[in-house]
């Protein structure tokens, strides 16, 4: 008993119409790293919200025992008081304040409401040393990268004397190096006796770092695997998550590649704010009919910038170069011109750039091509419903009605809506930027199948992804980018992790131009 820091017993939480958690049990050993995995909608976040008091005691059934005391948290402050701190996927830092101010936000070093700046800075320096962050505590948070911001969040948790640290998708927005550093840090904290609960979709991380893995599916605990008792492969975890064996993470496809449909020639783009900084440097590339082309590269290599500058110059200044479609030069100076010319771009950030979260599914789907459902600028709602219904079925968007508000759906369903929206514009060239970021294995497979289907219909598909296996698993051909240049072009046959990585590292490290 005593070696469990946390026990959640028979937790049941119902929302109107849905049982989000059904008799879930979770036991976390003291001083260990415990992973929580499951598809989107499996109930991971709900469980953590129950634990941290976001859903106050009384709104759920079951018991929470922390260090053997039964707890009834009414809000998040009460759970933090006993040492449970949750770090959400969307970081809760104030961008204009300094690192030190952020660390002690809401927990200020003070006497009689007067800030004690000396202590604020000296204490935060100590905490930053502990998490291995070398930046000055006076730096404004907006001037450091996402990886470092994550470390600041952890330092903030440490300042609250955390005993149980919960991290929700901590590495989702991080590049490989930052992810590794973060995982190393978790191991360091473990040595200092801090227990962690890690929620992650990145199963390789989960299997390499955690001591136990609890799998949730449809609001129920499937099993808890101890990694010291059995060797855990990714496939083993996936099997538990989806409830069946996934024979392959990528659907089979026979590619039928036709003639070149799209070409980018001598493409140069400058940074919108720093006018003399070249973000894209003389890029040449082509896509053929029915081909899936991957773009690999580290964060800041210029992949998103390249895609968005092609898509109606939605990014960048002083853009030069030319675009050819079916051998003829086309102009795409605005987004609507790009859409008219058959280019579609699915953004990496569906909530900011993809969806109107307060509007319903059908209106989101039709937004980029209202011409198709209107005559003389008057919308034919029947046609809209029929078309949206068709795409909902084609992409298997799981919702009761088309009138559901997009903001209430899971990440996988939201991504499918964005994809539907761009399929609805009937593009010839479909650019997908991180099409499976933050979505679960099942939905990923469905999106991969869609990509294959679209290519089979004759579309040229360009896939930007930070997950190397994804790029390798999907693409017929891969361009590798580094610091705004294309450093390599590899066919399916010759590409493997190692060769792509080599080109990715290119002329050395890269840390510029990631847009937010």
């Amino acid at each position: 008993m005593s070696d469990y820091i946390l026990e959640m017993r028979n937790i049941t939480k119902t929302f109107p119409g849905v049982k989000a958690l059904d008799n879930v049990n979770l036991k976390v050993e003291k001083g260990k790293i415990h992973a929580l995995v499951g598809e989107n909608g499996a109930g991971k976040s709900t469980l953590m919200k129950v634990l941290s008091g976001v859903y106050p005691s009384g709104t759920y059934d079951g018991g929470i025992y922390f260090e053997e005391n039964e707890c009834h948290f009414k809000d998040i402050n009460q759970s933090e008081d006993v040492g449970i701190v949750i770090i959400h996927q969307e970081l809760a830092l104030s961008p204009f304040l300094s690192i030190a101010e952020n660390i002690f936000l809401g927990n200020e070093r003070q006497s009689k409401q007067i800030m004690n700046w000396k202590e604020t800075f000296s204490e935060s320096k100590k905490l930053l040393d502990q998490v291995g962050l070398k930046d000055s505590p006076e730096t404004a948070v907006m001037n450091i990268g996402v990886g470092k911001q994550q470390l600041v969040e952890i330092a903030k948790a440490l300042s609250k004397n955390v005993k149980l640290l919960i991290l929700d998708e901590p590495t989702a927005a991080l590049n490989e190096t930052d992810s590794e550093n973060l995982l190393k840090l978790l191991n360091e904290l473990k040595k200092q006796g801090i227990t962690s609960i890690l929620i992650s979709h990145k199963l390789n991380e989960v299997s390499s770092i955690s001591d136990s893995i609890t799998i949730l599916r449809d609001g129920q605990t499937v099993e808890t695997i101890k990694t010291n008792e059995e060797k855990v492969s990714e496939d083993r975890i996936i099997k538990g998550m989806v409830g069946r064996e996934l024979t392959s993470r990528f659907p089979q496809r026979v590619s039928e590649i036709g003639e070149t449909i799209f070409e980018v020639k001598d493409w140069n783009v400058y940074h919108p704010a720093q006018r003399d900084r070249k973000v894209i440097d003389n890029v040449n590339m082509h896509i053929r009919r029915g081909e899936v082309v991957g773009i690999a590269g580290l964060m800041g290599a210029g992949r998103t910038e390249l895609a968005m500058s092609i898509f109606g110059k939605a990014y960048g200044k002083k853009i030069t170069g030319s675009l050819y479609k079916n051998g003829k030069e086309v102009t795409a100076n605005t987004v609507s011109e790009a859409i008219t010319n058959g280019i579609a771009y699915v953004s990496e950030d569906r909530k900011t750039y993809g969806l109107n979260l307060i509007d319903d599914i059908k209106r989101n789907i039709t937004l980029a091509n209202l011409k198709r459902i209107s005559s003389n600028s008057i919308i034919d709602e029947r046609k809209e419903i029929t078309e949206a219904q068709f795409l909902r079925e084609k992409l298997n968007i799981k919702t009761p009605t088309l009138e559901q508000v997009a903001g209430n759906l899971s990440g996988g369903n939201q991504q499918k809506i964005v994809l539907s929206k761009w399929i609805f514009t009937e593009p010839d060239i479909l650019i997908l930027d991180e099409p499976t970021r933050g979505i679960d294995v099942g939905a990923k497979f469905e999106i991969y199948s869609q990509i294959n289907e679209l290519a089979a219909e004759g579309m040229g598909v360009l896939v930007i992804s930070s997950e190397l296996p994804e790029v390798l698993g999907l693409s017929d051909r891969i361009y590798v980018m580094n610091e705004g240049r294309i450093t390599g072009e590899l066919d399916r046959g010759e590409a493997d992790q190692e060769s792509v990585m080599r080109y990715m590292a290119g002329a050395g490290g890269a840390n510029n131009g990631n847009i937010n």
């Binding site: 790009a338 109107n356 979260l357 937004l367 980029a368 209202l370 209107s374 008057i378």
Partner: protein
């Protein structure tokens, strides 16, 4: 019963608004011992508050795009002054003067829309500046004096009534006929809508609820029309408001432009990346609001039969309050024309009712402020509750 509760819960925003309207109407019905509903006062209520409703229609579009327009009160005064200078000082024919005045409104919209949409100055700042600029220009134009009187035909805009084609005495027959036609149209639309909901497997409201709802609505409309018919019939102001409601509801619900307005307010970045020219959308919404404010300005001047420097003072706040009481969101993307009208009616009935029972202007302001706060507070409370459950 359960379906009814669910229905209510899911549409609490719309129903809440209507309940507020009913409660406030009921309250003043009791407080004024029914005077508020006597035919003469009902007509007055419309004549006094018509321009708030007109302004609310323009304002709701602005607010849906996530902007605000603080200048409309001053624009009302400025356009009133322009029309006065044209008609009274320069003998410009009434129709031409009206057209020129609306054009001035459009130009004001172009001016403000340019700074907001293309230069990127927050609308709060631009229209706050506009509020000062156009009030100042009004004072300059009128030299601090009132201009009066307008030509008689200009009075129709605010004081005219639809003629009674049947010339009966006592009861205005045309009014009764029009409300009958409106009732039939409403019944037809409701059932057409129902049919298509069934066809597309949408959730359909139980029939008895639809029927009850329609019956209540039609009763209210016909009763209202009957009261008006006992007086002088349908005022021109009501015709103007009604036409605006129809046009703008149609634009917002059924046209590409309407979609673009909602999309721009809902998520500007996503709208931009969907090929929507959001700058252009915001620009035209402000031009539109300029014209609407000009129309309200003409109605205001016509009602007072003079152009005065203090015209439309604080009217922008009534219009903005109406839109928010009507369920729009400060963040943009949410709101309806009908909601704004209901909000405007809440404001109008309060103005009228409080005057009837002799509450001074001091307490009128304070009470209207409280109602705005409570209405939006109720809305926010419900949204939070929905978000947590």
């Amino acid at each position: 019963m359960e379906t009814l509760i669910n229905l209510f819960r899911n549409n609490i925003r719309q129903y809440g608004m209507i309940i507020a309207l009913v409660l406030i109407t009921g309250l003043f019905w009791i407080l004024t011992e029914g005077i508020i509903f006597n035919p003469l006062n009902l007509t007055n209520l419309i004549l006094q508050n018509g321009f708030i409703l007109v302004l609310a229609v323009g304002m709701v579009l602005v607010i849906i795009t996530g902007n605000i327009d603080l200048s409309v009160g001053s624009v009302v005064a400025f356009v009133g002054a322009i029309s006065g200078v044209l008609m009274i000082n320069n003998n410009v024919p009434v129709v031409l003067a009206i057209i020129l005045s609306l054009l001035v409104g459009a130009l004001i919209g172009v001016w403000q829309g340019f700074w907001i949409a293309y230069i990127g100055i927050p609308s709060f700042i631009v229209t706050l500046a506009g509020m000062l600029i156009f009030r100042g220009l009004t004072l300059y134009l009128l030299d601090g004096q009132s201009l009066a009187p307008f030509p008689d035909s200009f009075g129709i805009l605010s004081g005219g009534f639809l003629p009674d084609l049947f010339g009966s005495d006592g009861l205005h027959i045309l009014t009764i006929i029009l409300s009958g036609i409106l009732s039939l149209v409403l019944i037809y639309m409701e059932f057409k809508n129902r049919k298509s909901q069934v066809q597309y497997n949408f959730e359909v409201i139980p029939l008895w609820i639809t029927v009850t709802k329609l019956a209540l609505l039609i009763y209210v409309i016909n009763w209202f029309a009957y009261q008006l018919a006992l007086n002088k019939g349908i005022p021109m102001v009501l015709v103007i408001v009604f036409v605006l409601i129809i046009i703008y509801t149609f634009i917002m619900n059924n046209t590409v432009m309407g979609r673009h307005i909602y999309a721009t307010g809902g998520n500007k970045k996503a709208a931009d990346l969907s090929g929507i020219k959001t700058k252009r959308v915001v620009f035209w919404v402000f031009v539109n609001n300029g014209v609407i404010a000009a129309l309200a300005g003409l109605m205001f001047a016509s009602r007072l039969d003079s152009a005065t420097p203090a015209a439309g003072n604080m009217l922008e706040l009534d219009a903005i309050a109406a839109v928010f009481i009507g369920g729009a969101s400060m963040a943009g993307g949410v709101g309806t024309v009908i909601g704004a009208i209901v909000g405007g009616l809440v404001m109008g009935i309060m103005n009228n009712g409080m005057s009837l029972i002799g509450i001074g202007i001091d307490w009128q302001q304070a009470i209207k402020g409280m109602v705005l706060l409570l209405a939006v507070g109720f809305d926010v409370y419900n949204k939070n509750k929905a978000g947590n459950s």
